[in-house]
């Protein structure tokens, strides 16, 4: 009785979802399809309460009744409920469902009612999705083979194996005793024995035979087209048609206007004729004259230069004007012979091409060409590979390897008011002379920075120079149009006396000589206000002076003097002479060669070197674009540096060229002064940008090595004043120190 389920129920169970919640729903579906009693089932479904669920169970029973399966009428509601539960159990067993406990089964219909509607579309889900009561999960069952449990429940308690493996003998006896033993199987996962019913066996049989599992399934049932068979005449919405359906679209019109316009303008081409595939044309001589790829021989192909195309005169029948007369022919041949050229082309006219004779020189020329190619193969020029732009720069030594050179500001000599125009240390390095716009000629002690003596010359001093003769210790200064020579007073008394006597004798000798001329170019006279001094009064303002190395001759420069710009004076005789009748350009400075009887005369754009012994021009150095401001001669005498107003410092190697060996553009303003160090390989340039650049300039003894010039230091310490920076610089005679005079009224000493 228990296992004998009604056909409809069994069918529903097999076809439906095996989950416990869906059993009820499938029963409802059966109702719909088979009995057609829609009303009751709908109404029962709409109720969502315990009562409705009970009534639904009733419906179930009634539908089962309809199918003709005999059932016992329920005496009471409780009995009906019990029976429904039992039916459910049977159905679930048929479907291979885990049998819930009685309590679970009792509450089951409530849940089915709620979830059933949702799960309705998924009516025929397979058995695989049924939840396992066993909580082992995917753990292989052989793990529990020797255990007495088959897994764990939700609380972590062991699920004890109920149907224990019976003894084999017992199993045999039971099999023989029980007639249904042959259709009882053991469900390992859920630990229970299932006895298959007759229908199930039939179903298995059918599956084995390849039929549908259920008998009543007709795979060839006529199809009912529920949705497209009938055409509905009523619209889905009863809203009236909108107005836009009846008026033409504004945007479409715009689009059309645009298209029409494009068509009219020819932007859109309507009749697009298909492109005709032209046969590809090959340029036969494509590589002619071009550098081709590397040939198989591995040598690069270097094309020969293209010959000039033939002109009209080379035609076999040129126009008559190209034809030469006999004289012209003779002249041309003569000219070619004189020049040593090949035989010239003489145009000749022939009636027909076939009358043109073979080129007589053809074989000879071809042979010579082959010789040319064989004997003088064209050279391959390799491209220069430069790794980086820095690699092109010369390898200069580092400045710290070139020490000593001035680096730091050591001392400031304060006292001048206004610009200091010139500084000059004496030969011992103990004293420093300076002059400036305040008209004061000062002598400073280098070690302490003390001004030990000063003379007031009442006019700006442009140049100061010590007499190299250490027996006299004279100091010369150029101020306005006079050149003042004073004994410096730094030496012992004998030196003072010697200086006084030298100046006295110079004045005495000079006075008669000056009287000879009506207007002497230079007058020697004593200076009463400066003790023992002598002044040389020029006609023009003196800007520069230079002593000869022995200390007897000195030269003065008055740039505006024109023909009397450069005067050379002799101290011992008190004489002055004008060595140059005229000067080419305005003279800016002069210098004596340290060893030879040469005089360097710098004009605004060149430097002329005169040999005083031969009285001739020895050399001429070409300047740059700017006015030469200052020059200095290397102690060896073979090199000159020149600073000019175009911010350029030029180094001339006089043995090398008349053009600069190096031109250094480092300053940002015009150069004012340049200087060589007497003993160290140093030179410096002072500029209006208030900086002094110090360079290492090593001159080598062998003539093959060029001088090494390395910029080593930029000295800052002066202030710009009225666009003038450092006006003068001069090196200490023995130490790597440099004295600089600035437009800011300070004299600075930079040292190592």
């Amino acid at each position: 009785m228990k296992k004998r389920a009604p056909d409809g129920a069994a069918k529903a169970a097999v076809e439906s979802i095996p989950s416990d919640s869906d059993a009820e729903l499938n029963a409802n579906e059966l109702d719909l399809s088979e009995s057609g009693s829609d009303e009751s089932s709908y109404s029962s479904e709409e109720g969502a309460s315990d009562v409705s669920s009970q009534s639904e169970v009733e419906d179930d029973r009634e539908t089962l009744d309809d199918t003709g399966t005999p059932t016992a009428a329920a005496a009471s509601d409780q009995d009906e409920l019990d029976r429904a539960v039992v039916d459910y159990l049977i159905a679930s067993q048929k479907a291979g469902l885990p049998a819930p406990s009685l309590e679970e089964a009792a509450v089951q219909p409530e849940t089915t009612d709620r979830e059933g509607l949702d799960a309705a579309p998924e009516g025929d889900t397979s058995d695989d999705e049924r939840p396992q009561r066993n909580t082992v999960g995917d753990v292989p069952l052989e793990w529990y083979r020797d255990e007495d449990h088959i897994g764990y429940d939700r609380e972590g308690q062991k699920l004890i194996r109920k149907a224990k493996q019976k003894d084999r003998l017992d199993a045999l006896i039971q099999r023989n005793d029980d007639e249904s033993a042959w259709r009882t199987i053991y469900d390992e996962y859920n630990d229970e024995e299932l006895t298959l019913s007759k229908e199930e066996l039939q179903m298995i049989q059918r599956i084995r035979e390849g039929h549908f599992p259920h008998v009543e399934v007709n795979p060839w049932e006529p199809e009912t087209d529920w949705y497209t068979k009938e055409r509905e005449i009523h619209p889905l919405s009863s809203a009236p048609e909108p107005k836009r359906r009846f008026i033409p679209s504004k945007w479409e019109e715009k689009k059309i206007v645009k298209l029409v316009r494009a068509l009219r303008k020819g932007w859109i081409k309507r009749d697009r004729t298909p492109k005709t595939e032209e046969p590809p044309a090959y340029l036969l001589w494509q590589d002619d004259g071009m550098v081709a790829d590397r040939p198989a021989s591995g040598l690069a192909y270097v094309p020969a230069p293209k010959p000039v195309l033939p002109g009209h005169d080379e035609s076999f029948n040129p126009p008559k004007e190209f034809l030469l007369s006999e004289e012209e022919t003779a002249a041309k041949q003569l000219q070619a012979e004189e020049n040593g050229d090949a035989a010239p082309w003489i145009p000749a006219a022939f009636d027909a091409l076939r009358n043109v004779p073979l080129y007589s020189e053809f074989i000879k020329e071809r042979f010579e060409r082959c010789l040319d190619l064989y004997l003088a193969p064209r050279a391959r020029r390799m491209r220069l590979h430069v790794a980086s732009p820095e690699a092109l720069l010369p390898q200069l030594p580092k400045p710290r390897d070139l020490q000593p050179f001035p680096t730091t500001l050591l001392l400031k000599f304060l006292g001048h008011v206004g610009k200091v125009r010139t500084v000059a240390p004496d030969q011992t390095g103990q004293w420093l002379a300076s002059g400036g716009d305040d008209g004061l000629l000062r002598v400073w002690e280098v070690r302490s920075g003390r001004c030990v003596r000063s003379w007031d010359l009442q006019a700006p001093i442009h140049c100061v120079a010590w007499c190299p003769n250490s027996a006299l210790r004279l100091l010369a200064a150029a101020s306005a149009s006079r050149l003042v020579i004073v004994p410096s007073g730094t030496g012992p008394e004998e030196v003072e006396r010697a200086a006084e006597e030298a100046l006295e004798s110079a004045c005495q000798q000079a006075t008669p000589a000056a009287d000879d001329e009506a207007r002497p170019m230079c007058r020697w006279q004593r200076l009463p206000e400066l003790q023992g001094g002598v002044e040389l009064v020029h006609l023009h303002p003196v800007r520069h002076l230079a002593w000869h190395g022995r200390g007897d001759y000195f030269a003065s420069v008055a740039p505006t003097g024109n023909t009397q710009a450069v005067l050379v004076h002799q101290l011992s005789k008190g004489a002055s002479q004008n060595p140059f009748r005229r000067n080419r350009g305005r003279v800016t400075s002069v210098l004596f060669h340290p060893a030879k009887p040469f005089l360097f005369v710098a004009t605004q754009n060149s430097i002329r070197i005169y040999d005083l012994a031969r009285q001739a021009l020895a050399n001429r150095l070409l300047g740059g674009s700017g006015v030469i401001a200052s020059m200095a001669v290397h102690p060896s005498g073979d090199h000159v540096i020149v600073g000019s107003a175009d911010k350029r410092l030029a180094w001339y190697d006089m043995d090398l060229s008349t053009k600069p060996y190096r031109a250094l553009h480092y300053h940002t303003a015009a150069l004012r002064s340049v200087a060589y160090h007497p003993t160290y390989p140093l030179f410096a340039s002072a500029s209006d940008d208030a900086t002094i650049h110090v360079f290492h300039g090593m001159v080598y003894q062998d003539l093959l090595t060029n001088p090494l010039i390395v910029p080593v230091k930029i000295l800052r310490g002066h202030q710009q004043c009225e666009h003038e920076g450092v006006l003068s610089c001069s090196f200490h005679p023995h130490q790597p120190w440099i004295f600089t005079a600035g437009a800011d009224g300070e004299i600075a000493l930079f040292g190592n």
């Binding site: 390095g429 302490s448 030990v452 130490q735 040292g751």
Partner: protein, 457 residues
């Protein structure tokens, strides 16, 4: 939290007994520096007035924490550190300055009570301890470069001698005020007290007894041997001369004047023609030079004569030379990279010289230490400009005084590279300095001031 390391130290000292502490080792935190150590010693001593101490570890003053010092020396932290403590030099107290007329270029002290200053106006002034100018003596035209007192002679009654050199290419020997005249000195002290050093001073305070003429350019430096019998002068003519000096020369000059001062007096009159003061009656000897030490190429700028046979000189040609004065040979040469201005030798060990020049560094040359061919120099850099004068303390072989163009003087202990004190008081370049005795120093500068400081202990 790192555990504080402790170092075991035992304190030793050579100070008198009341300043001694037991030598038992103490555990001192490794981070302690000089101040902490000084506090520890003061606590152990329990003096009523705490005194600052300085500490020596391996002959070097403790100027950083013990930890870093131990690390730098590579000493194990487990071993007991033997730290010697000495009394620290207290910050010097400045005395009121004396006003000069011109830049002060040379200072010296005589009998540790009288101060001498030479200035660019060419005169030597004598000041007493209170800053009163006792006398002004015109000495060298153009400026006095150096003044050196001669060591006091054995006979107490003899007047003190001193030597000066200047820009007039001469060096002179002077007799100072007689030593046995404290009463008269005190008597005319109030009478002839000069203010500002400008009034005419008593002329007979300094008497020139000898003039050394042989240089052809300014005499830049002078040194007297420890006995006081020989003088060395060096000048801008790169010559280095040795002269006889001392009481004998002075006595001979005085004797000569008493007998027949024919030649010396005429020479003296000629020499002192340009000087402001009237020539004293005493004759002036002109000793000839004993020897010339040849070797320097440029200005000889500094001389030091620590022991009788050894003379040190420095020059603008970047060289320090040691001379054997008996054979007049150059024994040792140290070449540097910069011009040198001044040199001083340690009073006790004659193998250590300190020199300074156109450089910010004070350098010490210890002749006993050599690394192969190279000589060992130590350089102490703290000044900001040239060091122009060095004076070694007569009382301590470790203390040095340097004068610099950066307007300061610095007091150095040669056992540390950090100066002990910086003496600030000049407003312009400091040009010269000297020790009055072990306790006070004197300096002169371009601000026309003669400053003095008293060092406390």
């Amino acid at each position: 939290m790192e555990e504080e390391t402790q170092l075991t130290c035992s304190f030793v000292t050579k100070l008198p007994t009341e300043l001694r502490i037991p030598e038992a080792p103490l555990a001192i935190p490794a981070k302690t520096s000089r101040l902490g150590l000084s506090q520890v010693v003061n606590q152990l001593l329990a003096l009523d007035r705490p005194r600052p101490f300085d500490f020596l570890l391996d002959g070097e003053l403790v100027r950083q924490s013990l930890e870093s010092l131990v690390l730098a020396h590579g000493v194990s932290t487990e071993s007991v550190l033997n730290i010697e403590y000495i009394l620290a030099v207290a910050p010097p107290k400045q005395s009121p300055p004396c006003q000069e007329n011109d830049w002060v270029s040379a200072v010296a002290c005589l009998k540790s009570a009288l101060r001498l200053s030479g200035s660019y106006d060419g005169s030597i002034r004598v000041w007493d301890g209170d800053g009163a100018c006792l006398s002004i003596t015109p000495a060298h035209k153009g400026g006095v470069n150096v003044i050196r007192p001669l060591p006091t002679s054995s006979s107490a009654s003899a007047p003190p001698l001193l030597v000066s050199a200047g820009k007039d290419q001469k060096a002179r020997l002077w007799t100072g005020p007689p030593q046995d005249a404290p009463a008269s000195h005190g008597a005319h002290h109030s009478a002839t007290r000069l203010t500002n050093g400008s009034a005419s001073a008593q002329q007979d305070t300094l008497q020139a007894v000898a003039v050394y003429g042989g240089h052809t350019d300014a005499v830049q430096c002078a040194a007297v041997n420890p006995v006081g019998s020989r003088l060395a002068t060096g000048g801008w003519d790169s010559h280095l001369f040795l002269w006889p000096t001392g009481a004998e020369v002075a006595a001979s000059a005085l004797d000569g004047s008493a007998a027949a001062p024919v030649k010396p007096s005429s020479a003296a009159r000629k020499k002192r023609k340009g000087e402001a003061g009237s020539a004293p009656a005493a004759a002036i000897a002109e000793p000839a030079s004993q020897a010339e030490l040849q070797g320097h190429l440029q200005c000889v700028s500094g001389l030091a004569w620590p022991s009788d046979g050894t003379l040190y000189s420095c020059s603008w040609d970047h060289q320090v030379k040691r001379w054997d004065t008996e054979t007049t040979a150059c024994v040792d040469t140290l070449s540097g990279g910069r011009a040198l201005y001044c040199i001083a030798a340690a009073p006790e060990d004659q193998q250590v010289v300190a020199f300074g020049g156109a450089d910010r560094a004070l350098r010490l040359w210890d002749l006993r230490v050599r690394h192969g061919e190279k000589q060992a120099t130590q350089s102490f850099v703290s000044h900001q400009n040239w060091i122009v004068d060095i004076a070694w303390s007569p009382a301590s072989p470790h203390h040095l005084l340097t004068a610099s163009h950066d307007k300061t003087l610095k007091l150095w202990d040669k056992r540390t590279s950090i100066p002990l004190h910086t003496l600030q008081g000049h407003t312009d370049k400091v040009l010269c300095c000297c020790w009055l005795n072990g306790q006070s120093v004197l300096s002169g500068g371009a601000d026309n001031l003669l400053q003095s400081w008293v060092l406390g202990q």
